[in-house]
Symmetry: none
Subunit: 336 residues, 2 copies
C-alpha cells in the first residue's frame, strides 16, 4: 500500500505542509476546526506518521547536520570549527554535507535529513538555490533549520549573517580613498543574496563618491578557475577606461587576480589595487600582502550553533537574526 504523506494530506485539503504538520501535533497555532478536518482526512486515508521521523522524535539523535556549498573555502572551514566547538561541548555529533553549489544536491541532502537522522540543520544555501520548498519541508518535519552566512530570504528561519552590504561599501570606498576611479567588481551568481548585497554596497559607495556605475565593470565569475582566469585577464587588458581597482567578492578569485596581473606584468598596487573577501591566513604572505574583508567565520559558526540548540530545545527562534560585522584589513595590495 502506498504510504500517505503529510504532503498528500496538504494537497487534498489545500493547506500548507506546515499547517498539516502543526495540526497533527495539536499546535495552538491551528484552529480547532482545521485540526478536525486534518484528523478526519488522516483517519480516512489511514495516515501514519513516518516511523523513522516521528517515533524518534521523543528520543533525539543528538546529531546535527551542517549543509554547506564546499569546504575548500576558508570561511566554511572556519565556520565549521566554530559550530563544532559549541556542539562538542553539548555532546552533539556534527555531520557535514556538501552541495557543491548545486540545488539538486541540496534538495537530496535535506530530504535525507527528514528521516530523523538529525535533530536540526545549519544551512548555507548553494548559489543555485532560488526557492525554499525543500527547507520548509524539513522544518515541517520538526527539524529546525538555522541559516548562516547565505540565506534564502523567502524562507522564514533564524539567521546568522555578516554585514555584506557595508562590507561591499567599505571595500569600494577604501579603493576610492586610495585613488581608484575605475573599480571592477568580481561577483558570482546573481541569485545569491550575499553576493547581491556586497554588490549593492559597491554601487552605493560609487554613487556616494560621485563615480559612475558601469554594468561592464561587474564581472560574473563561475566555478571554473580556467574560465575565470580568462575573464579577469580580458577585463584587465581593457584599454579605456583601464580598471585601476578590483573588489573580489569570493576568496578563490585571489589566485586568479594575482596570476592574471603577474602574467600581464601589471603591478599590484601601483597599476591596480585589490581588495578580496577572504579569510585566508596566507593573505599576509602574498606579494604584496592582500587587503581583505575578513568575515567573522568562527564566531558566525558559534552563534548559529547556539541558536540551533535553542531551537532543538523547543524555543521558537524563527525570527531571530544576528549580524556579526566583517572587518576590512588594509594591507599592501591597496595602498597608494
Amino acid at each position: 500500500m502506498k504510504h500517505v504523506t503529510i504532503r498528500a494530506l496538504a494537497r487534498e485539503l489545500n493547506l500548507s505542509v506546515s499547517t498539516i504538520s502543526k495540526a497533527l501535533r495539536d499546535s495552538y497555532e491551528i484552529s480547532a476546526e482545521t485540526k478536525q478536518r486534518v484528523l478526519a482526512l488522516a483517519a480516512t486515508l489511514n495516515y501514519t506518521p513516518n516511523p523513522y521521523a516521528s517515533s524518534l522524535r521523543g528520543k533525539k539523535s543528538r546529531t546535527i547536520g551542517v549543509v554547506v556549498p564546499e569546504v575548500a573555502d576558508s570561511f566554511f572551514s572556519l565556520a565549521i570549527n566554530g559550530i563544532e566547538s559549541v556542539m562538542k561541548a553539548m555532546g552533539y555529533h556534527v555531520l557535514i554535507c556538501l552541495t557543491h553549489e548545486q540545488f539538486d544536491n541540496e534538495k537530496l541532502i535535506l530530504k535525507e535529513f527528514q528521516s530523523g537522522r538529525v535533530d536540526g540543520v545549519l544551512l548555507s544555501v548553494s548559489r543555485e538555490t532560488l526557492s525554499g520548498e525543500h527547507i520548509r519541508d524539513l522544518a515541517a518535519q520538526d527539524v529546525p533549520v538555522v541559516f548562516f552566512d547565505r540565506v534564502l530570504d523567502e524562507v522564514q528561519a533564524a539567521r546568522i549573517v555578516t554585514n555584506d552590504f557595508e562590507s561591499g561599501y567599505a571595500a569600494t570606498a577604501h579603493l576610492v580613498e586610495n585613488g581608484c576611479r575605475e573599480i571592477v567588481y568580481l561577483g558570482i551568481s546573481e541569485s545569491l543574496s550575499i553576493s547581491n548585497r556586497r554588490m549593492e554596497g559597491y554601487r552605493q559607495a560609487l554613487a556616494d563618491h560621485r563615480l559612475p556605475f558601469r554594468t561592464g565593470n561587474v564581472v560574473a565569475c563561475t566555478n571554473d578557475a580556467a574560465e575565470n582566469y580568462k575573464t579577469v585577464k580580458k577585463m584587465l587588458q581593457r584599454k579605456a577606461p583601464r580598471p585601476d581597482g578590483i573588489v573580489a567578492s569570493v576568496e578563490k578569485l585571489t589566485t586568479t587576480v594575482y596570476q592574471a596581473c603577474n602574467d600581464l606584468r601589471l603591478r599590484i598596487p601601483s597599476d591596480v589595487k585589490v581588495v578580496c573577501f577572504s579569510n585566508l591566513e596566507i593573505a599576509t604572505i602574498l606579494h604584496p600582502s592582500l587587503t581583505t574583508i575578513t568575515q567573522p567565520a568562527f564566531e558566525m559558526g558559534r552563534a548559529a550553533a547556539s541558536l540551533l540548540l535553542k531551537a532543538i530545545k523547543g524555543n521558537n527562534v524563527m525570527s531571530a537574526e544576528m549580524v556579526i560585522p566583517s572587518v576590512l584589513i588594509p594591507r599592501g595590495s591597496s595602498t597608494r
Copy 2:
C-alpha cells in the same frame, strides 16, 4: 536544471544503456577502463541516479561516512571532492565528520557509525591515533573501512596511500642538488605513519648524499600556529650551523615559514630554500612561488571511494593497497 539520464550518458559515450547501467553498478562484466570513462562523464555531467529506483536494494542506508582530521587543509578538501564524484554517480550520500586530530573524537564518531547509519567508512586517522580497537569494532559490525592517506598499520584494512617515503626523499634530494647542506625537517606527531615515512625519506636522502643527520634538525610542530611560528623563527636564527634548506611536511607550515623568513629578513631562496608538502593552488602566487610536493588528493579520494563500494557490495578488499605517487613541482622557493 535538466536531469541527466543513463540514456544521455550512453549516447555521449556511444555505449548501450545496459553497459552504462552495469558500469555504474560496478558489474564485473564491464572493463575497468569503461567504468572509468562512465564515472568520469557521470561526474562531469552531474548525473544522479533516480533515488527511488535505486533504494530498492536491501536495506542499505546508501550513505557512507568520511572521517578526516580537518578540512582546512587543501589535501582533505580535494580528496573529499574525489570521494563525492564517485559516490554521487552511484547515488550515495556522503557524511563528513571531523576529528580535529583528536583520538577521543575519532572513537566517538566511529562508535556512532556502528548504529547502521552508514554502509561504510573512509578514514584518515588523527595524529593521536595509536591503537585500532575502535576501527576493528566498526568492521566487526559489518561496516567496511577503507583507509586513505593516513593509515594505522596495526589494522588490516584496504588502503589508498601516496609514496610518502619517496616524496620525503625527493624533497630533500632536490634541496641538496640545489646546494643546501643544512636541511631542517619540519614534522608533526611522531605517531603519524605518513609523517614518519616522509622523515625516513629525508634521512635516507641525507645518508645517500653523505650529509649528517642531526636530531636538532628535526623540528616537531603542533596544532598551535603561534607556537609553530616561535619554533621556526628560533630554528632559523640558529648561528652555526645555519639552516639553508627547509622541508615542511605539512601544508599549514607554509605561512609560518614565509612569515618567519620575512620577519627575520631572510631571503627565499638565496638565504634559505623551501619545499612544502602542499596542494595549495595559491603556491604559484607566493613570492617567491613555492616548490611543492603535490599529492594526488582527488585521485586518492576517487580510488578510496571505489574500493569502499566494492567492500560494501561484499567483496573482500581487506588486503588491497594502492599507492598513487605524489609529484615534486619545482618553483621559485628552491632554485639556485
